[in-house]
Structures are given as structure tokens and as C-alpha cells.
Symmetry: C2
Subunit: 282 residues, 2 copies
Amino acid sequence: MIDLGAADADDGFAARCAADQAFLGLELAADGTASFALTGGLARHDRRLYGGTAVAAAIALAEHASGRPALWTTVQFVSGATVVGDRIDCRVDVLAAGHRTTQLRVTAHVGDQELFCALGATATPKAGSLSGVFEEPPAVLEPELCEPFRFPLPKSMRGTEMDLERLMDIRVARARDDAPRPVGQLLFWARVPDHRASPAILGFLADMVPMSVVHATGHMGGGTSLDNTLRVGQPAATEWVLLQLDPHLAQGGYGHGTGHLWSPDGALLATASQTASLIVLD
Amino acid sequence: MIDLGAADADDGFAARCAADQAFLGLELAADGTASFALTGGLARHDRRLYGGTAVAAAIALAEHASGRPALWTTVQFVSGATVVGDRIDCRVDVLAAGHRTTQLRVTAHVGDQELFCALGATATPKAGSLSGVFEEPPAVLEPELCEPFRFPLPKSMRGTEMDLERLMDIRVARARDDAPRPVGQLLFWARVPDHRASPAILGFLADMVPMSVVHATGHMGGGTSLDNTLRVGQPAATEWVLLQLDPHLAQGGYGHGTGHLWSPDGALLATASQTASLIVLD
């Protein structure tokens, strides 16, 4: 029995790990390697690997290898040269395993081509230690009252019948009041239907920051992520996640920004940050 | 001659790279590896490797290997088992070199022990592309009017004559007005004397976020960083940097937060983020 500490004890760690592995279709080998098939549900519009899928896989594999819940991960996207149907081979290296913290590296390949590399840590929370949230959740209407969001499509794909197959619901989160919001901030409700927002699922949902950077410049668009960083916060049993996307800056065709991921009742589930090569679609 | 693009053309890229290498004492070998000695000026109070030094080294090596200015890096601290006098061996792997972006990985060892691993990208800025800053710099007095900051010392080191040797000036940045600041936010002026705040130097200065997380809980302290992430923004020729440290949350003994690095005239030089194991010192 893995000791998850008081803060995570009732969270059903083993059950949520199993649910994450099933969602990704992860096949775990006895030698510590793993693989999964890139399906339409885990892909981008152009049927290449979706960045959030890489984050989710890195987290799921780090949690499996360490037996501890994820604390932080950064995924670097090395190559996008993969399409739906490819099998992605993953390897986990435990770099250091301490009393409370495990440091890991996850690398993923298709054949000889490195797709992504993730650094990260998992950690056993210490009961009774310092805690606090120093941000305020935005006041928005509940997801049931909000309209679905349709991702802006690249010009080459407009007018086609193709819809995003990705296993994700996303809605435009409407503010409860008329208070001014920070420049460029975007608010969405997002979920993977029938999946608890575990750290892996949070990583899957959070890959939206570049859209807010382009939005802040007065355009529609997004970006090709160079990395995704996720920092895991308060545990909460929720399916819907409020994505608060805050752009920092655009410079030289690249952009940086941050996301806060909130539960419907105001727990700060995680923070995210990203750098992307920006793409304007309007 | 390296083409740095219009946005960076007058920044003296080669000169600032040489200055960064000299600051770190980097010895570059012909086979692409490098090494440097851990000096007191690059260490923590306890004479172990300072996290900001690792970020600076990773950035300097990525810029040298790619001939492009740094865009983003994340450094994972695997082991702190090194002391002043050790020689740190570094290796740079170019994972992908594109038309504008190079993706790299830097690993550092003392003997057989991995100290840190960095992922990151360097990039040639695209002239005339999207740009903008979507944050406001805090209004503070200039550094000459602000008092030096003394880092809180671990209990074991109090009352000793030992002073921090690190090559860094740091001052408490005083607000110009009485407007309320966000919970836990800390503002410092920091510089490496006689060094321009290049991306490597920004990484050196930014390793302060955990202090703001502990501060937000009502204590003095800091943390052992698990990682440092730096995202590079607007270029500006400045020595002093305003560090705006914003804590996000503390949970289970760990904390996350963000830093914004501003020039004295309000350019957003970089953003930083970190996860740390928190330490209370009061």
C-alpha cells in the first residue's frame, strides 16, 4: 500500500491512475517502458500529436513509475512528425528518489525520432505543512449555462466536414458580472467527459495558453507549443475545469503565457505555462 | 555572421555571450562539451550549487551551441550534491534545429552524478511579427533609493560571520504609492554588478520565487527548488532588473509561483516560474 499522505489519502490514487492509463490507452511493459497508439481522440485538427496528450502521458507514466502523485512537469516538443495510427514508445528514467520527492525524465519516440521529452517530479504531500492559495478564482456562470466553443480552424481546413475528434468538451465561460478582466484573458470550461480531472487530465486540458496570447494582440489564432509546463495544486474531485488563460507577451513571433485551472468550487487545481510559436488564423 | 533578426540585431549578441561565458567561467571544449568550476560567487549560502547558476549555464550553453538567443528553458535540479571547488561537466544536445527555432537539452554532472538537466529553445526573432506586453510593471522607486535586502539565513548559520558571496546585488523595491499589492507579492531590484541583464543573467537573478510563496503564508523562508523555468521577452540594455514575485499556492509542503522581470523603463524582460519544497526560517 502506497502512503499518499493525508492530503491525498481519500483521492483513490490507484483508481485514478488506472483511469488515466485507460484514457490514453497506455500499455505498460514489465521493463518499465510503455507505449500508446495516437488516436483521433488524442490528436490535433491536423491529426498530429496534441501537446496536451504528451503532458498527460508524461504525468501518467511518472505517477506509475514512482507511486506518487504528480507535482510538476515540463514537456518539450521536439518533433511533430507523427500522425494518427502511429505507436508512440515511451521510456521513464527515475533520476532521484527521495524521502518525499521523485525526480523523473520521460522520453517518447516514434521509431528513431524523438517526439517529446518531459522533466518532472512526483511527491508525497506532507500533512499539516504550509498551505494556502494566493489567487482569486474568476466569477463565471456554471458550465451548463455556457455555450460550446469552436476552435478557430487553419484556412486550409475551413469548409471541410472535419470536426475535432479530440475527447474534450470546451465551453466559453461567461463572467457573472461586468467587472473588467485583464487584457487578453480568456476563460473556458473544459473537461474530458466521464473522467475526473486528475493531474494527467489537467495536463491534457491546459494546452490552450497560446490562443490567449494571440487574442491579446487582437487576432484569432493559437500557436505551435514549444513546451507545456504544469504545476499541480489542490486535489479536488471534479470533471469540469475552469481554464483562466493569461497572456504575458508576444515578441518576435513567439509568445508566453500562464493558465490557472480551477475547480467549480474554487480550488486551484494547477497552474500552467507555455511558450509557443504564434499562428494568426484571421 | 549570425542573423539575429531585426529585433535583436543591435544587441551585440556575440559580445553578451562572451560576457556570460566569462561570468560563469565556462570552458568550452571543441567537442561541444563544456565545464565550469563552482565558485563562491555562483553558490548558495551553504556553498552548494545555486539554482540560478544552473539556469544561467544552461542558457549560455544553448546560445553558444545554436548561435541564437534564448527563448525558453526549464532546469530540473536532480542532485544538490556539489560544493564550492567542484568542477561541473556539461553536455549540450541539439534535438532539432529548424528555420527559426533550435530545441536543445543540456545535462550537467559532477563525476558520475547528474546535477541538473535543462530543456529549452533558442530562436531567431521574426521582424514585424505579433508583439505586445499584456501586463503592467509595478510602480517602484529607483534602485538607488532602495535599501539592500539580507536573505533570511538557516538557523544553523545565524550569528556566523559568513556573508553571501554570490555575485548579486539585491534591494527591496519600495512602491511609489500606497495602492494595495496582490497577496504575498514581493518586489526586489537585482543585478549582477557590471553585467548586462542578458537571458543568462536573468536566469541567474530569477531564482527567488519560493521566498514569495512562504511570505504569502505569513512566514519568512524560501525553498529547495525542484525546477526553474525562464521565458525570455523583450530585449533591453539594462543592469538592474525589477523582480516581481507572485506566489500561486502552497500545498503539502510544496509551493508554486511566478516571477516577472522588468527593466527600469518597463520592458518585460522575462517571466519565470518555479516549484519548490518549502522551508520556513522563522
